[in-house]
């Protein structure tokens, strides 16, 4: 079955550290990939998405992600995190011909001031 994996469940960083959160998907066909963020007490918000073109995607709040087809990966990066980036981050995928998002387990990021 198609799935999305996020191997880092909890990440703790100090402010100004660089961030990379892993996301891998298991599907050989066309996929569309999303990163969502959920700040404490808030709803899921889209950070960025990829469905074609330049594999390096830039999103809001200084985040970017790189689609590497050969590695089935779509890792999220930010060069310098801030305390306000403390949140849970979800990777999701959709497949051709379907509406549903397939979510990873989420990664809880805590940034220490």
């Amino acid at each position: 079955a198609q799935s999305v994996s996020q191997h880092n469940h909890h990440v703790i960083l100090s402010e100004a550290a660089s961030l990379e959160l892993g996301c891998n998907y298991s599907y050989g066909g066309t996929v569309n990939l999303f990163w969502y963020v959920q700040y404490p007490g808030q709803h899921l918000q889209l950070l960025l998405k990829y469905f074609s073109g330049d594999p390096l995607v830039k999103g809001i709040k200084g985040f970017e992600a790189e689609f590497i087809k050969s590695k089935f990966s779509f890792n999220l990066r930010k060069p310098s995190v801030q305390w306000s980036d403390t949140a849970e981050y979800f990777c999701a995928a959709t497949l051709a011909g379907t509406y549903k998002y397939i979510f990873g387990t989420g990664t809880r990021l805590k940034v220490l001031a």
Binding site: F34, Q42, T94, T98, K100, I102, F103
Partner: protein, 115 residues
Amino acid sequence: EPEVTQTPSHQVTQMGQEVILRCVPISNHLYFYWYRQILGQKVEFLVSFYNNEISEKSEIFDDQFSVERPDGSNFTLKIRSTKLEDSAMYFCASSDGGGPQETQYFGPGTRLLVL
């Protein structure tokens, strides 16, 4: 900025009771979705809805579940006879267009606890 809203934020019910979870999607959106997240598990797709019909559903969405758009603004999920394992956070989402490349906009969720 328009947002998806959900009511109630928390609901506690007894096993076997019916519950209705309510959502108000973004006003010009045409596609609606329900997801759930059992504590400690992944967010899982339940159902998508367009033009007053279910367009896709998961194996979780059995005969105990139903969805409805009773008027021009609300979108509801009904669980007919709740089970303990229905305890979860339920998220509503909506999108402007349909298809796998569309951004879905999520509500804050309803936490359902079945006792």
